[in-house]
């Protein structure tokens, strides 16, 4: 783990304050000693001056810091345990237990915390209002929000296969919770503990300031309470109230910084946001003259994921897509096929960077396009059907609106009836009844949604469609229908397709030419028939052998 500036600053500040609270009282003498030197400004014997009754502010500050920290830790631990019990156990147990726990958390959540604390603290007689009582009250009013977050996270974790696997192997429930689920919640628990500590210190300061804090205790809040009662502000005795206020603010800030860092550890995406630029195209080489009949030409394209360990994801790839051709791009996970598709479309995002090479679409140098030209190029001339695209439809608007949006953006001059006609037309093209235009995505099956995505890609009559694993999540029967649809549309409309998948038999059946990719390189690029009957590269042969034939002899597959 690299130590971010935030984490170092946060931990450093918090450590200083904790050390001061732990060891300060040992060196500063008795904070209660009254002297006849009231309100001496800082300097000399009293580094931070004295209070109205001549007590040493530094000594008071040290003891008060210790008291506040103690309450913070007590409340932090209690609130975390409470939220863990109600959030994690409830979510894991499910059913009635979950309903009851969840209802209870929700009720606790809507009760406004601070007023309740004031009422409760006010009811307990002052002489019984010890540190523990106050901590308990603060913990009870402060755990509910965390419990809800933990519940949501546990609900997702309990359905993970590793939890099911632990149950199948015979683990007891408490062990599944403690050993399989809890460790994966640690970052979340840590951040909630930190948050509870900050909240407790602030709430306690507020209570004490109102005179409702723990009796006979010394915290930063009681210090402020006495400063207020001694008219420190009016007497301009800033040294009396600024230090405790500053410590509260600094400690709160330090813990907030630590929490940010925990968030960054949980979610690495937050980490290098600052470094990110919009679109990265490093070098644009001279554009090679396109081969006649080619609609899309990729020449020596290189894409690198920049970082501490740069990953060369696409290495010197050259491909030519002819008009009306179906080009298959075969490869396994991590071979660079999706990165290549994104780079062709200029959809790659940092840290991915095109380091060299060219992408030519007819006579357009794609890598040199400006933002506005790019907008006119994408989807209009080259559209894309993404992996898992059927799940990328907006669930809350009917598909009509989503199709019309594309037209409204790219064909602003088009009239409403024309738009409607065009949407119906493309749906008909992909074999979906135009009556379904009013349907919401959840009312359509996976295969239908995938067809709608293909329809959306067809809306603007592109010359090229890039399809990234468009049928992988679908059933064989639905896949068959969609493949037939793609072949038919290609024959009718004459566009070219780059079809990306790991399923080589599918490509062999569908494509005119096939490029096989491994580790970012195209290892073989040939007509489908040649590739099938006369594979040249060992990796192609390995891939071909990985798909046993349904009707053929078992051959090498004898068990």
């Amino acid at each position: 783990m690299t130590w971010s500036g935030k984490l170092v600053t946060g931990l450093g500040l918090a450590a200083l304050i904790v050390l001061f609270g732990l060891f300060g009282p040992l060196f500063t003498g008795d904070p209660a000693t009254i002297r006849d030197i009231g309100l001496t400004p800082p300097g000399g014997e009293h580094l931070l001056g004295t209070t109205l009754t001549g007590q040493d502010v530094l000594a008071q500050l040290a003891h008060a810091t210790r008291g506040s920290l103690w309450i913070g830790v007590l409340v932090g631990v209690m609130a975390t345990v409470l939220s863990g019990v109600f959030g994690i156990v409830g979510a894991y147990a499910g059913g009635v237990v979950d309903e009851a726990f969840s209802l209870f958390s929700n009720v606790m959540l809507v009760i406004p915390g601070l007023p309740l604390v004031i009422v409760v603290a006010g009811f307990v007689p002052a002489d019984q209002r010890g540190t523990w009582t106050i901590s308990l009250v603060l913990a009870i009013t402060g755990w509910a929000a965390a419990a809800r977050v933990l519940r949501a996270q546990t609900l997702s974790l309990r359905n993970r296969d590793y939890v099911a696997a632990a149950r199948v192997s015979g683990e007891r429930t408490w062990r599944v919770i403690c050993v399989e689920i809890l460790p994966n919640l640690l970052p979340l628990l840590a951040s909630q503990f930190v948050f509870a500590v900050v909240l407790a210190i602030l709430s306690e300061a507020g209570l004490s300031f109102l005179g409702l804090g723990a009796a006979n205790s010394s915290t930063l809040g009681t210090m402020l309470y006495y400063a207020q009662n001694g008219f420190a502000l009016q007497r301009e005795a800033w040294w009396w109230f600024v230090p405790p206020g500053l410590i509260i603010a600094l400690f709160g800030g330090a813990l907030a910084l630590i929490n940010f860092s925990i968030d960054e550890i949980i979610n690495p995406k937050l980490r290098d946001r600052a470094r990110r630029k919009r679109d990265v195209v490093a070098a644009t080489a001279e554009v090679a003259p396109a081969e006649p009949g080619a609609v899309l030409t990729v020449r020596n394209l290189n894409v690198v994921y920049q970082g501490d360990n740069p990953v060369h994801a696409v290495k010197d790839v050259s491909l030519t897509l002819r008009r009306g051709e179906i080009l298959g791009l075969a490869g396994e996970s991590g071979c660079g096929k999706t990165t290549l598709a994104y780079a062709i479309n200029r959809l790659h995002r940092p840290p991915a960077e095109v380091t060299s090479g060219s992408v030519t679409f007819e006579d357009v140098d794609v890598l040199a396009l400006g933002p506005e030209e790019l907008r006119e190029f994408r989807w209009v001339r080259l559209s894309m059907v993404f992996q898992g695209a059927m799940n990328s439809l907006n669930p809350v608007t009917p598909i009509r609106a989503q199709l019309q949006d594309v037209l409204r953006t790219h064909r602003p001059g088009m009239s409403t009836p024309d738009r409607e006609l065009r949407c119906a037309e493309v749906l008909r093209l992909v074999g979906v009844d135009p009556a379904r235009l009013g349907a919401y995505p959840h009312e359509l099956s996976g295969g239908m949604r995938q067809r709608v995505m293909i329809a959306m890609a067809l809306l603007l009559d592109p010359q090229v469609m890039i399809m990234d694993e468009p049928t992988t999540a679908l059933d064989v029967l639905v896949q068959r229908e969609i493949l037939n649809e793609i072949k038919r549309l290609r024959d009718e409309l004459g566009f070219a397709v780059v079809f990306i998948t790991h399923d080589l038999p599918l490509l062999l059946e569908l494509s005119d030419r096939i490029a096989v990719m491994r580790d970012g390189e195209v290892v073989e690029y040939a007509d489908a028939e040649d590739l099938y009957l006369r594979p040249q590269h060992p990796y192609t042969r390995e891939l071909l052998a990985s798909f046993p034939s349904l009707t053929g002899e078992p051959g090498a597959l004898t068990r």
């Binding site: 696997a165 199948v168 192997s169 683990e171 493949l483 059946e509 009957l533 046993p548």
Partner: protein, 251 residues
Amino acid sequence: MTTLEVRNLTKKFHGVLAVDDVSFTLTAGRTVALVGASGSGKSTIARMIARLVHPTSGEILLTGPEGVPLPRRSYRDHVQMIFQDPFASLNPFHTVEHHLARPLRLHGRSRTEVPSLLERVSLSPDLARRRPHELSGGQRQRVAIARALAPGARVIIADEPVSMLDVSIRLGILKLLARLQREEDLAVLYITHDLATARHFSDEVLVMHQGRIVERGPSDDVLVRPQDPYTRQLAAAAPNPEARFREGGPS
């Protein structure tokens, strides 16, 4: 011989029949393939046999080698499951060692068996100290297979064990399962949507459609000469480059 018999198994989810009156028997030394499209109820059957889901009705009977029914509490000593996604079925927080030592201990064995378990699935015992994210997909699935073997299970439910893996390592994993089944005389239920591997890696095939078994029989009969219209459709839908290039079919 340990056998697992499934009798009239039915599962309803919110009134919808996910599994409808399914019966079959798993016997030692044989692999039964359960094929069908997603949503056909295959995984629900796996989860009921693994006791992760309660059947609405029907029975799952486990009979020991002496022909006597085995008590419920020792069920998990005998029946284990391999999950579809090795990226999800191993806890990212724990080492390989933990994943194997726990089931060994739970079923009265010693954690000193971890190295030999890893060797049985053709992994180096050095991997025991690693965590899942340091392993490839194939290695993870081998660990998951070792975990299923750890309690000494005689019946293995493999729910789409290779569909999340890269194509070039799928056959290796299937061959490993076939070898273990043969050498250790296991009863295996191989759940898949891939008819070709179902044909080559099983003795008997059950074809599921909308919760029901629509066709069953020896794998070559069912998949090469299917009788049921749905099975025929499935068989015809699989990509078949053979037809395009070798038999001069339409392209």
